[in-house]
């Protein structure tokens, strides 16, 4: 039997609105490069970069960006948060922060992986990669995250594989009342994406969606464009 994924993930969602005023479209590339440059330092704090992505504007919001980091467990993630807090509080008042020049605001979450969620090593070994990624944020009934993820594994994963979707991650959002799940999938390209969207009319897919009544209250799907420095693009561990 596969070993359940016991890692913890940091979901770092960043608004590069400064790019509107100062940097234009290259802000996306600048942020990818900046975050890739940060990866070795964060590695020393226990974080492994899983992926860097930019949200594709016509499916969501521009200029929102996402970095996903993997830690050995929640205690490791907590140690990293403590170190980051201590370092920030020790900065002199005049300190400039490179990330702050690119990003206006952000939102952090810790994600608890489903047992069947692949680790970064699993993903690299299986060569999971896409030229575009599907990011789903699913709002659930209170405390329904574990039930929902079990249903994903048993009912949706086989169908998703049939549609060519490769699972990057399946997580319950930590903090709060276990009422949110996040799924990330790799897709081949935009033609693949439109085929997946059209498959909503497939009877099996429609049955899956109908089965979620009372569990999933709403979901928001966006497409993500990967940064070339992402391990999932290079195929190499960070």
């Amino acid at each position: 039997l596969p070993v359940p994924n016991a890692k913890a993930y940091h979901w770092e969602y960043v608004d590069l609105a400064a790019g509107i005023a100062n940097l234009g479209t290259p802000a996306r590339g600048a942020w990818f490069a900046h975050m890739a440059g940060e990866a070795p330092g964060r590695r020393q704090r226990g974080a492994r970069l899983v992926g860097l992505w930019g949200e594709i504007g016509i499916t969501g919001e521009w200029p929102m960006h996402l970095a996903l980091w993997e830690y050995d467990d929640l205690a490791a993630l907590a140690r990293a948060a403590a170190m980051a807090d201590a370092e920030e509080r020790a900065l002199p008042a005049s300190a400039e922060d490179a990330a702050s020049r690119l990003a206006v605001q952000g939102q952090g979450k810790w994600l608890r992986p489903a047992d069947f969620c692949p680790t970064l090593d699993d993903l690299l070994a299986a060569r999971v990669s896409g030229s575009v990624y599907y990011h789903q944020t699913v709002r659930l009934a209170p405390r329904a995250a574990a039930d929902y993820l079990r249903r994903v594994e048993s009912d949706w994963l086989p169908l998703a594989r049939r549609l060519g979707l490769q699972l990057v991650g399946a997580y319950a959002s930590g903090l709060g009342n276990a009422a949110e799940a996040i799924l990330i999938w790799a897709l081949r390209d935009f033609d693949h994406w439109q085929a997946v969207e059209r498959a909503n009319a497939d009877p099996d897919v429609a049955r899956w969606r109908a089965s979620l009544g009372g569990v999933a209250r709403d979901w928001r799907n966006v497409l993500l464009f990967p940064g070339p420095q992402s391990p999932l693009q290079s195929g190499r561990p960070p």
Binding site: A17, D85, R89, V104, G106
Partner: protein
Amino acid sequence: MSTANGKMYLWESVQVSEGLRHLGPAAMAEYQRMIAADWAPIARPDRGMVLVATWSVSAMLGPSPWCLNLWEHEGWDGLAEILYAQYSNQDQQTVDLDKRLEGWFARANRIRTRVRDRMLSPSAHTPTLEQLLARGTSGGVYYHECVQVAPGRAAEYQQRLHVQWQPEAEHLGLQLVGCYKTEMRNDSEVVVIWALRDFAHWAAVEAALGVDPAALRWQAATAGLVENVETWLLTPDARSPLQTGRLP
């Protein structure tokens, strides 16, 4: 009308940035210094508003760059007093009747873009700041829960929290800072703040909430009452009264 512990609380969340420019962690530290060291010592004697704490939201575990200030007031009268101070001037060309504060506001407004506030009333068993200090309530990090409950049932949630959950939470090492109802709404939101020892303690609590029998019982007991919970992890500024153990 007096509140349970006689106080009212101003929950003041602040986006520390200059418009579209994120100023970085140093600006957060400067803003919190202005709150705790410059404004709080004046605010208490002049306005009767007493700083409970100024925290920043941990960027890895919540929105950034935001800080949260919690102020204690002498009931509704105290809240009305600060409104008179800021809104008696009809032309609003100055932000406060006290001209000495103009410099403070001018500096603060250069490094803050947005403020979102709530007025909170305490539950029957929420300690005042003086009681918190006397008990030595303090943490290296704080757990901030914003609980959406079914309309009209905030007081029920508060009462049940004190009876059913607080004793169990204390076994996990959580210290209650306060349990507050958000006013000016339909009694559908409760804010709960707990002190924890440090990030490692948080990680242990976070893990326990998914498996601890008492925690699971509490979650099951509030099914149908709780509609959503948004939780942030807060880190305190060292000058906060909950950290120094002294009133400002």
